[in-house]
């Protein structure tokens, strides 16, 4: 590499939203063909910076240069014309349209008179192949899992063969396998001279993938470094501004009382023969690939999916759960992986969102607004939620901060069993730590926690036991020292391994 020329230069970019400055004179140069990582806490301004480059937001001041020329990027189509494509953090897909229709939205291929659907399908098929997913170009978006939607977003960004590709947390919902595929693809693109801007809260990934890093804190540029010259610990320190240690707290003592027991759960075409139990104070992890049925298991327990068979016991009592209301009544809580689609009411403010499920606790006929605000304020403090005010609509919070509001919303139901589906999706290292410690402090008090996660570190660091699912069944169970990445991958992929098969461990349990 001799004197690389910057394909993208940012000069003193600043941005304010109605008077609040979120970016302060950011100046950076990005070279052609490099992978530039962008790190920062939730609300640091990462997405805002990249949205300015891709024409979604307008900068308040400063200048953007592409290949040495000053440019005005006032809309996403300007960005497209300059060869800039973006994978947004929040999905931007039309639910009622198919995969290929979404990918070609606004740039449909036309035949002489009508749309050339065949060509569009074919191209979509190619892109999906590149991403090694089994998705059909004709699948409807509303039927896809979050991970699949993410894949569609990636494919959509690839379709124009941009020279600058912006990726805003593309890996938060992917399992390591899919991440692997994505990284291979990024390497390929890089070899073709494509420049990539990559946001992630997974420092390990960043270390593995990126050439250089931009670190932001509270809208200020803290440093631009070569990845080879910095380790994960230092990355975290620079982001947070202080030392960060002991991300995972020591595990709580598991109590003897079983908080949730599921027996022989089955859902048509999706799940069969799911049985497990969680004790008070225990953290039970669920691992598995995308489509292995982890989310579906949680939804079936919560009464969000029709069960064919299955008995559920809460605190050793058999319970009838017909809908999620029943589940909440029995003290079950479920934080969905899809905070945008299933989690939060985007035009509600913080107190309105946080009190939505637990509203009865605040209303004897009429809602006690002061009380909901007070409670919301407590969560804001506890989780360090960054919002302009309590009255801010959720729409205007950064992704990670939305996630914290979502967690607050479920915690406010005071559950006895908490099912967390990708709980730290899009959450920065510091907040992850806070959430882990929070979960730990709750388990100390007897809460039983089920964690579904694609983040192996999270499972290894948090869980007492891990169940690995595959194709709608529980493939095996790992406990204590046996919980490691290799074992999980083995089971998830359906390979025979040293792990004890499920039946024997279950027997042990019942001794």
């Amino acid at each position: 590499m001799s004197l690389p020329e910057p394909i993208l230069s940012l000069e003193k970019i600043s941005k304010s939203f109605s008077g609040v400055q979120v970016l302060h004179a950011i100046s950076v140069q990005v070279n052609a063909g490099e992978v530039m990582g962008i790190l920062g806490e939730n609300g640091a301004g990462k997405s805002t910076l990249l949205k300015i480059i891709s024409g979604i937001y307008q900068r308040s001041s400063g200048q953007v240069l592409v290949a040495g020329e000053a440019v005005e990027i006032t809309s996403p189509s300007d960005a497209k014309a300059l060869g800039i494509a973006m994978i947004p953090q929040e999905f931007n897909l039309i639910a009622s349209l198919s995969v290929f229709e979404n990918i070609f939205l606004g740039q449909e291929l036309k035949g002489r008179l009508l749309l050339n659907k065949k060509a569009m399908r074919q191209r979509t098929h190619q892109l999906l192949n590149l991403l090694e997913t089994q998705l059909s170009p004709d699948a409807l978006i509303e039927e896809l899992s979050v991970a699949e939607k993410q894949m569609v977003e990636i494919a959509k960004a690839l379709v124009n063969e941009a020279r600058i590709l912006i990726m805003d947390e593309p890996t938060t919902v992917l399992t390591s396998q899919e991440v692997e595929v994505l990284f291979k693809l990024i390497d390929k693109l890089k070899a073709q001279g494509v420049t990539i801007l990559f946001i992630s809260h997974k420092l390990k990934e960043v270390k593995q993938l990126c050439d250089r890093l931009i670190i932001l804190r509270d809208g200020e540029l803290i440093s631009v470094v070569q990845v080879s010259e910095i380790n994960e610990q230092d990355m975290a320190r620079k982001m947070v501004g202080r030392e960060l240690n002991q991300v995972f707290p020591p595990r709580s003592q598991v109590q003897s009382k079983v908080a949730l027991k599921v027996e022989n759960l089955a859902v048509k075409n999706l799940l069969s023969n799911i049985s497990f139990e969680v004790r008070q104070g225990e953290v039970l992890g669920f691992a598995g690939l995308i489509g292995s049925g982890r989310t579906e298991t949680a939804e079936a327990i919560m009464g969000l999916r029709r069960r064919q068979t299955g008995d559920i016991y809460v605190q050793q009592q058999a319970v009838q759960i017909h809908n999620i209301k029943d589940a909440v009544k029995y003290g079950l809580a479920y934080l969905s992986e899809d905070r945008q689609g299933c989690g939060l009411t985007m035009n509600f403010n913080l107190p309105e969102n946080i009190s939505l499920i637990s509203l009865n606790n605040y209303s004897k006929g009429f809602i006690n607004h002061a009380q909901t605000r007070e409670k919301a304020q407590q969560y804001v403090r506890k989780f360090d939620i960054k919002a302009a005010s309590l009255d801010t609509e959720l729409l205007y919070l950064s992704g990670g901060n939305q996630q914290k509001v979502y967690l607050s919303k479920w915690m406010d139901t005071q559950p006895q069993v908490l099912i967390l589906d990708e709980p730290t999706r899009g959450v920065d290292v510091n907040t992850k730590k806070e959430i882990y410690h929070f979960v730990q402090s709750m388990t100390e008090q007897g809460l039983a926690v089920v964690v579904i996660s694609s983040d192996m570190e999270e499972l290894i660091g948090l869980a007492h036991r891990v169940l690995v699912m595959r194709e709608g069944q529980i493939q095996g169970e790992l406990r204590d020292q046996d919980i490691n990445e290799q074992q999980i991958m083995f089971l998830a992929a359906g390979l025979q391994s040293q792990a004890a098969p499920l039946s024997t461990t279950l027997q042990e349990n019942h001794q």
Partner: protein
């Protein structure tokens, strides 16, 4: 435990910069009220008759018939639905009420029972719409388009397309009466708006209505019975239709089945939209709807006072709706 405490102290310092509120631009939220005030001033300047008390109470009375329905409609629209059948429903309830009155004879007893029956019938017809959309899974637009036609045709059939006149001597006192110089329908309109506002803003149900309209899936995952909420909004609008039918039929002491309530759905929906409630659902206010209804009423009144051809009044109304929606669109940006 100590970890939690540490978090607290940390957040205090870091959230300090976020205490500074984003100054939310509120003028746009006040747009309906501003428009109303401007309109009043313009009207007062354009016609000396406008501010005469009798004219004002007349305008308000005229407004209250559709206004009452618009209040119910606000709930439906916030929940993400729409009800096109309200106009026909007014006629149907009106005809049935007068038949009941005449069956029961004279006296206040008959009036009381009939009013109660009107509310019940309205709620029941609303429930039909509610069932069609929730259990039948037909979109609100189509379901109520169908019932709009059905209700009107039943009205004509029952009444044999002839004017229905009540024999009751007390009935006209309801819709034609005054209390403290203000017509009873106006009191009812204001009272219902107040009650509606309390329900929408200060009860769990109202909160659920907004949540359902904003994103039904999120509402489902938040343990809200979405279908129940949706169903109940149709019952609410039906109930308001029942009351409106009483006011209307008692004022004239009769109902003409062919044109009672004609185009009420348009006026009600227009009032809701002018009042700033989004047709996409999820948010809206009842005071906005009240103002929207009054704006429409004043425009009608002014066009009359100024001698504009009645045939042109629809055009003006249409333009006002367009302006309101365009402003709303801007606000969403």
């Amino acid at each position: 435990m100590s970890e939690v405490a540490k978090m607290d102290t940390k957040s205090n310092s870091s959230s300090a910069s976020w205490v500074t509120r984003l100054p939310k631009f509120t003028l746009s939220n006040w747009a309906p009220l501003v428009a109303l005030l401007v309109l009043v001033v313009l009207s007062a300047m354009a016609s000396e008759h406008f501010l005469i008390p009798r004219n004002l109470t007349n305008v308000l009375r005229q407004v209250s018939y559709t206004g009452i329905i618009a209040l119910g409609m606000t709930f439906v629209i916030i929940a993400g639905g729409i009800d096109l059948s309200v106009g026909s429903m007014v006629a149907l309830v009106g005809v049935l009420v007068i038949m009941l009155l005449n069956y029961m004879g004279d006296g206040w007893m008959a009036v009381t029972v009939s009013i109660a029956a009107a509310m019940a019938m309205g709620a029941a017809f609303g429930a039909v719409n509610g069932l069609l959309t929730t259990k039948g899974k037909i979109t609100a637009f189509v379901a109520t388009l169908a019932t709009m036609s059905i209700f009107r045709s039943l009205t004509l059939y029952i009444s044999d397309a002839g004017e229905m006149v009540s024999q009751n001597n007390h009935y006209p006192d309801i819709g034609g009466g005054y209390w403290m110089g203000i017509p009873i329908p106006v009191w009812l309109f204001i009272g219902l708006a107040f009650v509606g506002h309390i329900i929408l803003r200060h009860t769990a149900f109202g909160r659920h209505v907004c949540a359902v309209g904003s994103n039904p899936k999120v509402a489902t995952y938040s343990a809200i019975n979405v279908k129940r909420v949706y169903f109940l909004t149709f019952v609410i609008v039906g109930f308001t239709v029942g009351l409106s039918a009483v006011m209307l039929s008692s004022r004239l002491n009769s109902v003409s089945p062919g044109d009672a309530g004609l185009f009420y759905e348009l006026d009600a929906i227009a009032a809701v939209v002018i009042g700033g409630t989004s047709l996409a659902g999820g948010k809206g206010t009842l005071w906005g709807t009240v103002i929207g209804a009054i704006i429409l009423g004043i425009i009608n009144n002014m066009l009359n006072l100024m001698g504009v051809s009645p045939y042109l009044q629809g055009t003006v109304k249409g333009l006002v709706i367009l302006i309101a929606v365009l402003m709303q669109f801007k606000r969403d940006r």
